[in-house]
């Protein structure tokens, strides 16, 4: 018997605009594979957000709707309320979800919208050139905090998974990473669960994926993986923050 690791049918195969080593590519794969394995590819509608992943509609082999910055959960709500039987997801970065989109994600969770949100946290605004995000670490130097994030001036980074897990409507909230093959396998399991729970009609699912931004961080792709492991994981612990299995 042969086991194959190859490009998923859930991806269109179009070459991506992402920087070399950007982990968006890995996360896209995990979403695509999950949808194929759950046999949902033809039944899925994705909501793209504004950020580096704005062009994700060119890469996912599903119908997709562009959303204004931060509004993807509201757009997804509109979609799911019209088609409750479809699989609906949002794919959002940390600027989109944790900055301008905080109201929308909180209320999607609050209402228990049966959608799955893939939240890509790379502690920076990638697309616009490296500004501070709500998830930028204390002391991390970015273009709008050139001396490093100063917690006295603008607070400590936002822990989205912990925050959203407290909302009763949030059924499954997990934080994973993609900095190593082992982490990627765990991330895949969580993402697939996030879609499986949606199929079972359980409730709002969010998977926060710690990711790298080599260009924004000023590091090589390989060094960026190490930076993530050494700096982001201690502040953003991996794990399941709420799950239907606990309830």
């Amino acid at each position: 018997m042969t086991v194959n690791f190859s490009r998923s049918k859930g991806l269109t195969g179009q070459e991506t605009h992402y920087c070399p080593g950007c982990t968006h590519g890995i996360i896209h794969k995990l979403v695509a594979e999950s949808l194929v394995e759950l046999d949902q590819l033809g039944n899925t509608i994705g909501c793209a957000a504004v950020g580096c992943s704005i062009l994700s509609y060119n890469y996912f082999n599903v119908d997709m709707i562009e959303s204004a910055h931060g509004r993807a959960p509201a757009v997804a709500t509109g979609v799911k309320r019209v088609h409750p039987d479809k699989t609906v997801f949002t794919y959002q970065g940390d600027g989109d979800l944790a900055s301008i989109g905080t109201a929308e994600i909180v209320h999607a969770a609050h209402r228990g919208e049966k959608i799955t949100t893939i939240f890509v946290n790379n502690a920076i605004y990638g697309m616009t050139g490296g500004q501070m995000a709500p998830t930028t670490l204390a002391g991390q130097k970015v273009t709008t905090a050139p001396n490093g994030r100063d917690a006295n001036h603008c607070g400590m980074p936002l822990k989205i998974s912990e925050m959203l897990a407290q909302i009763p409507g949030a059924a499954y909230v997990a934080r994973v990473s993609v900095h190593s093959p082992k982490a990627v396998r765990q991330a895949k399991r969580a993402i697939k669960k996030g879609f499986a729970y949606q199929l079972a009609g359980i409730g709002f699912c969010l998977i926060e994926v710690l990711s790298t931004c080599p260009t924004g961080w000023g590091l090589s792709p390989i060094d960026a993986l190490q930076w993530l492991e050494e700096n982001m994981i201690p502040y953003y612990p991996l794990g399941v923050y709420t799950s239907p299995e606990e309830a």
């Binding site: 042969t2 086991v3 690791f5 190859s6 490009r7 070399p20 982990t23 890995i26 390989i222 993986l225």
Partner: protein, 82 residues
């Protein structure tokens, strides 16, 4: 346990030379290709010792651009659908 053997193929012209596969490979057999520039201007990777490949698939797992295909012969395991 029967020895795992694998075959790796790389779409060289789609490789962005990020190197994530080179650190993911437990056998250390994926390396940047010496003096090589692909059609996109990146230095692509290549397999340095295909005999040593176990077909674990870590390289394919880590590749953000899905340019790596791995086939693994595993006679004693059930096929894992990917």
């Amino acid at each position: 346990m029967a020895e795992m053997r694998g075959t790796v193929s790389i779409e060289t012209d789609r490789c962005k030379g990020c190197g994530l596969c080179t650190v993911a490979c437990p056998a250390g057999i994926i390396v940047f290709k010496d003096n090589s520039v692909n059609a996109k201007g990146y230095q692509p990777v290549t397999v340095s010792d295909s005999e040593a490949c176990t077909g674990c698939g870590s390289c394919a797992l880590m590749c953000p651009d899905s340019v790596i295909t791995v086939q693994r012969a595993t006679p004693e395991r059930r096929a894992v659908h990917v």
